[in-house]
Amino acid sequence: MTRGGVGGGRLLVALAGAAGGFALLELAGVADGRGALIVAVSLLASVAQGTVAAAAASDLTGARWIGSVRKDLLVGARLQPLLALLFLLLWPRLGLYPWAAEPGEWLNRPFFLARNVALLGAVALLARLYADRALRGDPATKPFAVAYLFAFFVSQTLVGFDWFMSLAYPWVSSMFAFYFPVEAFYVGVAVAGLLFLARGRGGGLGARGAAAARDVGLLLFGFSVLWGGLFFAQFLLLWYGNLPEEVSFITERLADGRTRALMPTFIAACWAIPFFGLLPEGAKRRPGVVAAVSVSVLLGILAERLLLVLPGTPVGGAVLTAELALVAGAWILARPRADEPGGADAAAAAGGGK
């Protein structure tokens, strides 16, 4: 976030608006959302934390593509304080969790809320510390990038275990510890893909920019393989073991009509479309294709989160749509102005554009 100064106001509006909107939807009883909040907030978490993570990782590995879009990616850092706020809204909804009936050492309402809010807050703080330095082009950025990534990983793990896995208590899949962070990362890169399209429209995409777009396409392709691998690794073990309490998680979802449809949807959207879409050499170079794939990935993740929540927990469709709209709106409002600093090699990227 830019301290005070220009854009600060707009950002505050964005945050306050989004928070207010969520509060209205969840608390004022405008409509019954039930599981919607979990889905919406988890998506926001993936977007806000994932984009920053993608930026941080590329800064660490010295990847070139980040340069031109760093500024836009780091908007995620600005939105992160929202997460902790919105998660508080989950308090009245904790009844949705089966363990709420007989709480345990780890799974009980106060600790559940406390640890998650605390962690989301911590991640937001680290994100800000990192983002500020990255945008300033500060040479001492890397340690903060590392710290952020670590916190990000833990936070996303908790999203997996606490927010989603414990909905199906006592069902356990340790894979969530890798699955969710990777998905968030995937989302982050996908957002980057969209940003390139936006920039392309703005005509800001030069030869170097195009190379960068290709790198993002390559990354998306790589992530589609990785995601597919993780998903298969998880499914294969459940299928092979066929332990009643493990596979019941799948059979339940196959039994329910709505969720049965979701399963192929998100597999196609998160793996098949990106993989085959970006397989050809040329496709990776076309921002349009990359952006389209990005959209498919984002929708795929949404579908998957829905699948995890349903059928155990009903989800109010209208509420969910509204909440997602709020998330998108907040993002657009929070976008930086052109004259804000863009980090080390952004200038070079712009230069390349000429």
């Binding site: 092979y240 066929n242 009643p244 309490e245 596979v247 799948i250 059979t251």
Partner: protein, 926 residues
């Protein structure tokens, strides 16, 4: 004497021919066994003949049928409906074939010259005996013939031969002589007998010391009766230590050693007033009347427990009290036996469930008193030639007597036996006896019952029947006697039976005769006398060493048989070698863990034994199985001649040695994993979630149901499985490494209160077996009849199946299985052989299933329910195991599986085993 033709005729009737070939020496058989041999010879290659005979591993005389293949015994099983055993065969009975083929069996006569025994021919061995007999007769010294319990035809022969040879046939020597019981019954009722019990009828049963399920008189039969008890039957067992019998009783009362008289005296006083058969006033007057408080104090049993027991006995319709074994093997054993007998009388058991008229036929068995007398006579040099047959007095006489040394007093010492033992080692002439499966014989294990023994195999060595030895000696003494013991027997049967009766006798292997004894009456005077003799002294405080009998080797006579060491002790799961059971509390005090060696000292006697912790054992009580001790440390109760087995004040100290000892259980507790679930009812009604399509079993679906309330943990099933399936017997070293091969094991699980549940675990033949899919070569797969088949010659030995088996029932051949000759003859030809590197396991005796299916096919019918009986189920004395086809709606198995309260182990894993467990009807609660 009968002529040749009648002899052969009789023989034919008795054998149906099969014995002919069985009796021909081994080398000829090789030619005999071929498809060309006419079937009436009884040896059709690939076909087996079943042969009814009698088990002789203990005096009980259970029925046994032996399976012959190519004229060789390959399997022993119980005889269904047998009057003694009821149909089962215990672990020792299973091992009798191992005795037959034991590599260490005496192959020929031995005589001592100089210091050592050396091989000799029968002729010079016998001539040496004959001349010694002649000399003794000349010198006017009568010899002595000491034998183990001997009944039936041999008893008759001995009775007439002993005088003829100038010998005195001493009272029989049995370590478990039940002398106190006989003495008491003699005094009170004038019937010095071990009564025949009916343990099936009582609704309240109290056993004091008497280990009905292990070694007491007729364990197999009694076990069958006990589990068949009426619904709601309550069974108390009182003892100082923790025996298998106690573990199986509904309630185990831990008595202070030596406090048995207190318990029984209090009970007598408690129930006498209201008893259905009032005691004579004189007796009542003489009755000791300890207060309940004092009794509780002395016995260590809580007051309310005593109250409950007394009330139950008083109120019972069919009460039964039995005292014996450990309880009577102590000072005051006579009092215990007497009080028990009086309780039986006054509670109305005598004459109903306690039958003195048709007793167990222990009348002519002596006791240690007689053995001591023999010792004295030997010392005084009054004994000429001493014969010791089928008995090991040196081992069982109190060590302090130094009996071995005294034997030198005889002019010549002649031993008859099959395996070298402490006594035979002292003999000048050792005459090897043929195995009961190699000779003709007739037993009368109890009054009114005759049992047939017939040869199932040619003698493996140069051995003879005891009867033939006696006849030969008489012949050499110039007498004219029957040409052979066999012909003498035949003549006897010919005289007794006509053809039909003889054929029936031959088919069944036993025949019952009516016995009428006069109804016994109580001698009030003697009773009062006995009661006045009862001393209620407070039991000595301090540690106690209990010498317990062993279900695996009885009094030690079966100890040499390796199979019985391979099969674990039911309570500790120790397999090889001796050990001392220590209560966990004492272990903590002594600072010993499993395997640490303890030196046990009693006066001058001492032994070093590894410790094994046993939950449920009372603190201060240490248990050693008497069969493992090199010599008998106890003394004798002069009143009865019983060996004293509860020894106070043993010294115990760590030797510092120790190490891994061979026991099989990884944990005495279930660790709260609900293998035997509490509450019982935990059957999952909902269809288990699965990602796989259901697969059908069109023809058969073989299934097993096991009643854990009937399982007494005796291990007969395991032993039977070893023999039927040629399961490798690997030995102590492998067991220490945790490499037992048993396909079927009985897991003892102790609860916090020290109670034990026994869970037989064999391959569960899972419907969705975790072991199958992980095999890379389809060596393990699921056959259409629901069996989890293991294809031995496809197996490449990855051991993945075993890793993935939650029941750990798969066994890997770490080395090539080896069996020392002639044990290699004991193998089931219906199985494919296994070599090193191959995984093997139980398949519900698939060879028997195949045989039954083929038989049914030949006869053009479906397989009948109960037609297939796996080896384990057949041998189970308590018929806890039921096997059948689940597709057959009317079958027993179908009903048992559906029954509420039936469960499967680890149901939550979704393996869907084909083995179902349940807790019988009603008598579920332990």
């Amino acid at each position: 004497m009968m002529d040749r033709r009648t002899f052969l005729h009789t023989l034919g009737l008795l054998t149906g021919g099969s014995a002919l070939s069985a009796c021909t020496p081994g080398k000829d058989r090789r030619h005999l066994v071929s498809a060309l041999v006419p079937p009436e010879d009884g040896v059709v290659p690939g076909q087996s003949v079943w042969h009814a005979t009698t088990c002789t591993e203990c005096p009980a005389g259970c029925g046994m049928q032996v399976r012959l293949r190519e004229g060789r015994p390959v399997k022993a099983e119980g005889v269904p409906g047998h009057p003694v055993s009821g149909g089962g065969l215990c672990v020792r009975g299973q091992a009798s074939l191992w005795r037959l083929y034991d590599p260490r069996r005496l192959r020929g006569p031995q005589v001592r010259d100089g210091g050592a025994l050396r091989a000799a021919t029968w002729d010079d061995a016998l001539s040496r005996v004959a001349s010694a007999l002649a000399e003794a007769r000349g010198a006017g010294r009568t010899g002595a013939y000491l034998s183990g319990r001997t009944t039936g035809a041999l008893a008759a022969l001995l009775a007439e031969s002993a005088p003829a040879l100038g010998l005195e046939w001493l009272p029989r020597f049995e370590p478990f002589s039940h002398a106190a019981i006989r003495r008491a019954n003699g005094l009170l009722f004038g019937a010095p007998e071990v009564p025949r019990l009916d343990a099936a009828r009582p609704d309240v049963l109290l056993t004091v010391g008497a280990d009905l399920l292990e070694t007491f008189v007729s364990p197999v039969g009694l076990a069958a009766q006990v589990v068949a008890g009426p619904a709601g039957r309550r069974w108390w067992h009182a003892e100082p230590h923790c025996s298998l019998t106690g573990a199986n009783a509904d309630r185990r009362l831990v008595l202070r050693a030596g406090s048995e008289p207190w318990l029984l005296a209090w009970l007598l006083a408690r129930v006498a007033p209201s008893a259905r058969r009032p005691l004579p006033p004189a007796v009542v007057a003489a009755m000791p009347r300890p207060s309940i408080a004092a009794t509780a104090e002395a016995t260590g049993v809580a007051v309310d427990a005593l109250e409950a027991l007394g009330a139950a006995l008083a109120a019972a319709k069919e009460p039964l009290v039995v005292a014996g074994a450990i309880a009577t093997a102590a000072e005051g054993g006579l009092a215990v036996a007497g009080l028990a007998a009086l309780l039986q009388w006054t509670l109305g058991a005598t004459g109903r469930t306690v039958d003195l008229a048709r007793g167990e036929g222990y009348g002519d068995v002596g006791s240690l008193l007689d053995l001591r007398a023999l010792g004295e006579r030997l010392e005084r040099g009054q004994v000429g030639v001493l014969f010791v047959a089928r008995a090991n007095p040196v081992r069982h006489a109190p060590a302090a007597w130094r009996l071995a040394g005294k034997l030198a007093g005889a002019t010549l010492r002649v031993g008859l036996g099959d395996l070298m033992d402490e006594t035979l080692r002292e003999m000048d002439v050792v005459l090897p006896l043929s195995h009961p499966l190699e000779t003709w014989e007739e037993l009368a294990p109890r009054r009114g019952l005759r049992e047939l023994l017939r040869p199932a195999a040619a003698p493996l060595g140069d051995t003879r029947a005891e009867g033939d030895v006696l006849l030969e000696l008489r012949r050499r003494a110039g007498e004219t006697v029957a040409p052979s013991y066999q012909e003498r027997l035949m003549a006897g049967w010919r005289a007794r039976y006509d053809d039909a009766a003889l054929r029936a006798y031959s088919a069944a292997g036993w025949a019952e005769e009516p016995v009428s004894g006069p109804p016994v009456g109580l001698d009030a005077g003697a009773a009062a006398e006995l009661l006045r003799g009862v001393r209620l002294s407070p039991p000595k405080p301090g540690l106690v060493l209990v010498l317990a009998p062993s279900i695996r080797s009885f009094d030690g006579r079966s100890r040499a048989l390796q199979l019985l060491e391979e099969v674990p002790d039911p309570l500790t799961t120790v397999t090889y070698g001796p050990w001392i059971s220590v209560a966990p509390g004492d272990a903590r005090r002594l600072g010993v863990a499993d395997g640490d060696e303890l030196r046990v000292t009693l006066g001058g006697w001492s032994a070093e034994l590894p410790a094994k912790l046993q939950p449920g054992l009372a603190e201060g009580v240490f248990v050693v199985q008497r069969d493992v001790l090199p010599s008998f440390p106890g003394g004798m109760d002069p009143a009865t001649g019983e060996a004293i087995c509860a020894l106070p004040g043993p010294g115990l100290e760590r030797t510092g040695r120790g190490g891994r000892m061979p026991y099989l259980s990884g944990s005495p507790s279930q660790q709260g994993r609900g293998l035997i679930p509490e509450p019982i009812h935990r059957k999952e009604t909902a269809k288990r979630a699965s990602l796989y399509p259901e697969h059908p079993h069109p023809e058969h679906r073989w299934t097993m149901a096991i009643d854990v309330s009937r399982c007494i943990g005796c291990g007969a099933c395991a032993a039977s499985c070893y023999v039927e399936n040629d399961v490798p017997v690997t030995g102590a070293r492998e067991h220490r490494l945790g490499r037992e091969m048993s396909w079927l094991r009985i897991e003892p699980f102790y609860d916090a209160a020290g109670g034990v549940d026994f869970l037989p675990i064999l391959c569960q033949q899972c419907h969705a077996a975790p072991c199958e899919p992980v095999c890379p070569v389809y060596a393990a797969y699921h056959n259409p009849e629901g069996l989890n088949v293991q294809v031995y010659n496809r197996c490449i030995g990855t051991r993945y199946c075993s890793n993935n088996c939650p029941y750990k029932v798969r066994r890997f051949n770490w080395f090539d299985p080896v069996r020392e000759a002639p044990l290699d003859l004991l193998h089931n030809p219906d199985l494919s052989a296994r070599g090193r590197g191959i995984m093997e396991k139980c398949t519900f005796c698939v060879q028997r299933i195949t045989a039954a299916r083929d038989r049914a096919k030949d006869e053009g019918r479906a397989v009948r329910d109960g037609e297939v009986v796996p080896a384990c189920a057949q041998s189970c004395p308590t018929t806890a195991i039921v096997f059948g086809d689940l597709n057959d709606a009317g079958s027993r198995i179908a009903a048992l599986v559906k029954a509420p309260g039936s469960w499967r182990v680890f149901e939550e894993l979704g393996t869907e085993p084909s083995v179902h467990y349940h807790r019988g009807g009603g008598e579920g609660e332990r």
